[in-house]
Point group: C2
Chain length 115, copies 2
DNA sequence: CCCTTAATTAGTGAGTAGGTTAACTATGGG
DNA sequence: CCCATAGTTAACCTACTCACTAATTAAGGG
């Protein structure tokens, strides 16, 4: 990944199915690393790296108790991502409405030409 | 990028500020490659590659007329991304509600113990 | 104190991302 | 017909991603 702004970090973190699956697991409630790793066949270090990516994106936090790390989902980055998409779609729909209105106007003019 | 499922392609495409800026431009209406490239200092091939990524993710389509390519935004991948996040948040909120209810129950029990 | 368990760090390797410049393709105008 | 314009492809580079295995850190239980 080239950029390290919050939005780019979040999108990049979400661009991996393993990481999305981890988030889905964490949406059901906090879990330890091994609980999160359980459904996957990949090695523990691989999971550890995925968690680091999620943590760096702010999507997950770790709390330490003894030798266990408890992972918790953080919704703020998801909110930011959602806000960007909604904004994008707002402008998109605005433009579509304008286009539709324009076509409606054209239709009126057609009627003038072919009554 | 490791994975090439639709959702991963979309998220990965959105993980770059240049590409997000291109999409924002295209939300205002279709544009040619040079119109899209205009705000950026990077070379034309670099833009071309970004456009290819967006196209592969289904976020953009190209139509050719003479030597110009007209780029148009496609909203379907954004819808899919949005749906994933909403689903994620639904489960998250469900869990928070359950937790809240649980705490409410605990509070009731406290009252029984300390009336 | 040692041993098991939990998890991370180190080191390695293959593949991809994102940028560059230079060369190529394609199309319409003079 | 050639040439300017629009855009892509080729070749190259650096840096990062994602996986692996082996080694390391950290903590609690007998």
């Amino acid at each position: 990944m080239a950029s390290d702004d919050r939005l780019s970090l979040a999108f990049a973190a979400l661009a991996d199915p393993t990481r999305r699956a981890i988030l889905t697991r964490l949406a059901q409630g906090p879990a330890t690393v091994q609980e999160v790793a359980e459904p996957f066949t990949m090695s523990a270090p691989a999971i550890s790296r995925h968690l680091k990516v999620l943590e760096r994106a702010g999507l997950v936090t770790r709390t330490t108790r003894a030798q266990w790390r408890t992972l918790s989902l953080q919704s703020e980055p998801l909110d930011e991502v959602s806000a960007w998409i909604d904004q994008q779609r707002r402008e998109w729909n605005l433009r579509l409405d304008a286009l539709e209105q324009h076509l409606e106007t054209m239709k009126g003019k057609d009627h003038e030409h072919f009554p």
